[in-house]
């Protein structure tokens, strides 16, 4: 037990590794925030495209389905490898000369967009058809009905699952570290290689947990709040 503590939770190495891992962690946070904003927007667009009515929209619906099927089924690690190692090798002007962090954000965005599209879609489908019917029969167009009636209700309903995916995204930024971005996990690994001590991993874990626990509690709070409200209206 002593050896475990010494190796994984040594106070001396904890302090020693803290600054480097903290600076690595700021990169995790940066990647997460940028990717999350992109994901929220792109996934909403895809979810809307997937729900478009009519024959004319069929090819677009098809593309959206292919996209979500492909990237939901592909491990993030593969996508990240392909982007971080592959794109610079293409040597295309304009897209091949960014930092690994940018490709990492792109990989996270592409994969998480596929998940979050499904979350949005579930939300959109959970809004009862009578709401659309009421909106359409007031003369609102399809677009207005989506924007003012369906989406506000749909998004409200999927906030908890969205926050869950947000937590997943946050953690998966560490995968990007394994491939070539010096973020918190990579810093911890460097530290372990230099000092033959793994306390750095604990430090990195503490940072991640420090960020995810408030999010998890917030998610619980939202769910509880909603249940309270629904109970109140059911009576």
């Amino acid at each position: 037990m002593h050896r475990v503590l010494h190796s994984f939770a040594n106070p001396f190495y904890f302090r020693q590794s803290l600054p480097d891992i903290w600076s690595g962690f700021t990169i995790n946070v940066q990647m997460m925030l940028i990717a999350e904003v992109l994901v929220l927007v792109l996934a909403l667009v895809l979810a809307i495209v997937r729900g478009l009515p009519g024959r004319g929209a069929k090819p677009f619906r098809g593309l959206a389905i292919v996209y979500t099927d492909f990237f939901r089924g592909t491990p993030l690690t593969l996508v990240a490898f392909a982007f971080i190692l592959g794109i610079p090798g293409l040597d295309y002007p304009g897209i091949s000369h960014y930092s690994n962090e940018v490709y990492g954000i792109a990989a996270l965005t592409v994969v998480y967009t596929a998940y979050v599209t499904e979350v949005y879609r579930a939300g959109i489908e959970s809004v009862h058809g009578s709401q659309r019917m009421a909106a359409r029969s007031l003369g609102l167009s399809y677009g207005h009905t989506m924007r003012y009636v369906v989406l506000p209700q749909a998004i409200r309903r999927v906030v908890p699952p969205l926050l869950n995916d947000f937590i997943g995204l946050q953690k998966d930024t560490a995968i990007i570290g394994a491939i070539g971005v010096i973020e918190a996990a990579a810093q911890a690994n460097n530290f372990a290689s230099s000092y033959f001590n793994f306390t750095g991993f604990l430090v990195a874990a503490v940072f991640f947990i420090y960020l995810t626990i408030p999010l998890a509690r917030y998610t619980d709070h939202i769910i509880a709040e909603r249940e309270r409200r629904e109970r109140a209206t059911a009576t």
Binding site: S137, G139, L140, H144
Partner: protein
């Protein structure tokens, strides 16, 4: 308005859901400022007929003319048609994420292009008329069923429709809440609103309508002035239906 004074003209309309014919060769006219009540058992096709008039359902055969315009030929601008037809549903279908005032203001703002201020003053006028001005900033789930249904009527009226379709609007209400909604509909009828009303409230139908239309299994068995239908029904099916209604104490 068409030359002959008819605001809605339904001719030989048939509607199928798969193999099931829910409307069979229905023909019915509604005069301008007229009130027509559709009566009949649940499943007789009342709601479907109403939904065909604002194209929430497409008819399979026959024609419907509204305000001089044939709406069943597939060429009509559906949104433009719905702007002049208000519909109120059994389940109110208010938008739960919006306040009462926002519910009433949405379509005038986005469809009619009214300014916030114009829409607001129109909404306030209507909420005052239905006696719910004090609820303007409440969310629908804070209101009773009767209040929600009155708001749904106000929301439809905010588009200044020329025709109102009421689809069993009191069927989901507790008995003591029915009259507040019916009073509002009475007032609408007096003000000259053209209406088609699907209802189970027979006394109300008799009092408020110019014409009663008895649907049975997707067919109009009998139509005519209320006194004729209720006092001297000529069809045995109508007599049976009314006898059952009286038995159930609903008249």
């Amino acid at each position: 308005m068409s030359a002959n004074g008819r605001f809605v003209s339904i001719e030989n309309v048939t509607k199928r859901f798969g193999d099931l014919e829910v409307l069979k060769q229905i023909s019915l006219d509604v005069e301008e400022h007229g009130v027509v009540c559709l009566i009949g058992a649940s499943g007789s096709g009342k709601s479907t007929l109403l939904r065909c008039v604002n194209l929430l359902e497409r008819v399979d055969e026959g024609t419907i003319v509204v305000d001089g315009e044939t709406i069943t030929n597939g060429k009509v601008d559906v949104n433009a048609l719905r702007r002049k037809i208000g519909i109120v549903f059994q389940a109110y279908n208010l938008f739960p994420h919006m306040t009462v005032a926002q519910n009433v203001m949405l379509a005038p703002r986005k469809v009619r292009g009214l300014s916030q201020r114009e829409a607001r003053s129109r909404a306030w006028g209507l909420l005052d008329r239905i006696g719910l001005l004090d609820k303007a900033d409440e969310f629908p789930d804070r209101l009773s069923g009767g209040q929600q249904q009155r708001v749904a009527i106000a929301r439809a009226l905010a588009m200044e429709p020329k025709l109102m379709l009421l689809d069993e609007i009191t069927s989901a209400l507790d008995p003591q809440l029915v009259s507040e909604v019916l009073n509002l509909v009475r007032e609408l009828a007096r003000s000259g609103m053209t209406m088609i009303i699907a209802t189970h409230e027979m006394s109300f139908a008799r009092e408020v309508s110019d014409k009663i239309c008895f649907l049975d299994g997707g067919v109009i068995r009998e139509q005519g002035p209320p006194d004729q239908i209720f006092s001297h029904p000529s069809e045995p099916r109508t007599r049976e239906f009314l006898a059952r209604v009286i038995e159930a104490g609903r008249m």
